[in-house]
């Protein structure tokens, strides 16, 4: 579904990624773990097109997407959330989620200026879809008209997930979806992630520090350390891997 082969990325002299190889299988949850500064977010940024790798290829749905721009990748069905929430503060929750539908709509400039007619039809269709498929699903109907700044951290993370889901993605990249959340919020989020996978068959790739959650919900785990891939396999395999134990100084053991 989504595969990365021999990916190298460097900023000046710093080598952020040195030969990363893995495949996120269709309909499964793949986790990327590693200590701070291991290159997890850099990997995500390279996959979503914000950074250009200087070596290696990225394949998505059997097509090479290494060279294409981030917005084109999004229209191919790739959605992501961000580590430090990237919601648009000038818009309400509802508009933020609607923005996720951008790539699925066709309204052009002139029909937008006119609104009545095709644009209105399309917008109402989108609204219905989002209300029924996303807002209801993630249980955020009580906050849909709120400005982003009024929401708690956990809710903001959930809205970000909602925005990604509005894209109807075939692959979903989640960058630390439960970072900074308490146990209850973490459990909620884990449940939502599993529900997404179950209901829509979405391929999910997630970066996370919460080892319990990663071990619980992922079917495949990739471990990075200093930009290098040190292990890859099922949660049990990875947990036993001596290189991983060393990198984490016994945390995972």
């Amino acid at each position: 579904m989504l595969s990365v082969s021999d990916l190298h990325l460097s900023f000046g002299g710093i080598k952020a990624l040195r030969g990363v190889n893995f495949e996120a299988k269709k309909g499964e949850i793949t986790g990327v773990i590693g200590p701070n500064g291991a290159g997890k977010t850099s990997l995500f940024n390279a996959i979503s097109g914000f950074y250009t790798p200087h070596k290696g290829r990225i394949h998505f749905n059997n097509a090479d997407i290494t060279g294409i721009s981030p917005d084109k990748r999004a229209s191919l069905g790739m959605a992501r959330t961000f580590q430090n929430i990237a919601l648009f503060r000038g818009m309400t929750v509802l508009d933020n989620i609607k923005l996720g539908g951008h790539t699925r709509l066709n309204t052009g400039l002139f029909s937008a200026l006119k609104y009545f007619g095709s644009a209105r039809k399309e917008e109402l269709e989108l609204r219905r879809d989002i209300e029924e498929r996303v807002i209801d699903f993630l249980e955020i109907d009580h906050i849909r008209k709120y400005p982003i700044t009024m929401l708690s951290y956990g809710l903001q993370k959930r809205v970000e997930l909602a925005r990604a889901l509005a894209m109807r993605p075939s692959v979903l990249l989640l960058d630390e979806p439960v970072a900074g959340m308490n146990r209850e919020e973490t459990a909620d989020m884990a449940r939502f992630i599993l529900d997404v996978q179950e209901q829509y068959g979405t391929t999910i790739l997630l970066v996370e520090h919460d080892m319990h959650m990663v071990m619980d919900i992922c079917s495949h785990i990739v471990v990075l350390n200093f930009g290098q891939q040190i292990a890859s396999g099922t949660p049990t395999e990875v947990a036993k891997n001596p290189a991983v134990i060393e990198a984490y100084l016994g945390v995972a053991a």
Binding site: F50, A74, S75
Partner: protein
């Protein structure tokens, strides 16, 4: 919570005037504008026309600066392009029946303005903020300079300006200010509605996303190239329309009308009114045009219309203009629209506590 705000379907919730108070305000204002030429004197109509022309341009700048977050200090140049294109195309298509001439000339003027807007907007793909502000400023100086050149004076009239045609819409000759008022008001309302419509669709949401976090927007599937240039084209097109109306409104246009002061007036009106808000330009234009006018009137009445004091009027107006801008930036950065929003919120919640 808003009282009396029950919605039974999505289309009701997606309307612009989604509650009674907004409806009351907007329909009330329209009613007032309709009656206005009946009881207002010539001078008031003249002022209203000027405001309408400026308003259309400020709405355009609002799309670019307020919603897309691209600062421009040179949009006066697009008004100039719109105005001069109108005159030049009117002279060029002299053979056409006068009744349909505006229907050819005005869209052409808007297109020329929009295309030049796209060209000026090209640096916006690589530079942000300040660099763009100076780039647009530089472009506007160049446009004004070219208009003034003797080289182009057969078309533009050069530094002494050029006479403008009288608009004729399907045989209706708009040769009085009151008739122009009708045209300008109708167009101003239409353009305002069109701009508001943008922000109910994916196009407007893309603009706001670019303003708030451009790179995240790109990752969500918004092409920065396409939407930044589109925003420039829209704002320049609006300014082009404003310029076209200006050309029809004034008997003669001069390069000096479209200088730095005009560009600053656009931005100031936007800041005073409220950036990135629908009614921001509306409130801003009223303040920016009325306050200097009030100063002029009060100064001339205070000094008994003596000519000795008259020469102080212009500098005082200039200072007050600057002070207004600074005052709003320091005290109410979100503009008058923020004040009216607070009032509207209080009304919506009545009889419960404000908050």
């Amino acid at each position: 919570m808003i009282n009396g705000n029950l919605k039974a379907d999505y289309s009701a919730d997606e309307r612009i005037l989604n509650n009674r108070n907004k409806q009351f305000f907007v329909y009330g204002s329209m009613f007032f504008l309709t009656l206005f030429p009946v009881f207002a004197d010539d001078y008031a109509v003249l002022m209203a026309c000027k405001m309408g022309i400026l308003l259309i341009a400020v709405i355009g700048v609002n799309v670019l600066t307020g919603y897309t977050g691209l600062i421009s200090l040179g949009h006066g140049a697009f008004i100039a392009i719109g105005a001069y294109s109108t005159v030049i195309f009117s002279n060029l298509f002299d053979g056409l029946p006068t009744g349909i001439l505006p229907f050819v000339v005005v869209p052409l003027a808007i297109s020329v303005s929009a295309i030049i807007g796209i060209i000026v907007g090209l640096p916006s793909l690589r530079v942000k903020g300040l660099y763009l502000a100076v780039a647009t400023l530089a472009a506007s100086f160049i446009v004004k300079f070219l208009i003034e050149q003797d080289l182009f004076s057969p078309w533009t009239g050069g530094i002494v300006g050029i006479d403008t045609p009288v608009p004729n819409i399907l045989g209706w000759e708009l040769d009085t200010k009151r008739e122009m008022y009708v045209l300008i008001t109708v167009l101003a309302i239409c353009t305002m509605l069109a701009a508001q419509n943008l922000f109910r669709t994916r196009v407007g949401r893309a603009f706001i996303a670019i303003r708030d976090r451009d790179y995240s927007a790109e990752i969500l599937g918004i092409s920065l190239l396409r939407y930044k240039l589109m925003s420039f084209a829209i704002s320049a097109g609006y300014c082009g329309l404003s310029g076209a109306l200006g050309a029809y409104f004034y008997a003669r246009i001069l390069p000096d009308q479209f200088g730095l002061n005009l560009s600053l007036e656009l931005v100031a009106a936007l800041i005073v009114g409220g950036m990135g808000r629908t009614l921001g330009p509306f409130f801003g234009v009223i303040i920016i045009m009325l306050v200097p006018e009030l100063i002029k009137i009060s100064m001339s009445s205070a000094t008994g219309g003596s000519l000795d004091w008259a020469r102080y009027t212009a500098p005082v107006q200039e200072i007050v203009f600057g002070l207004l801008l600074v005052f709003f930036l320091l005290k109410e950065p979100l503009g008058i629209n923020q004040i009216t929003d607070r009032m509207l919120r209080a009304i919506n919640r009545w009889p419960f506590a404000r908050g």
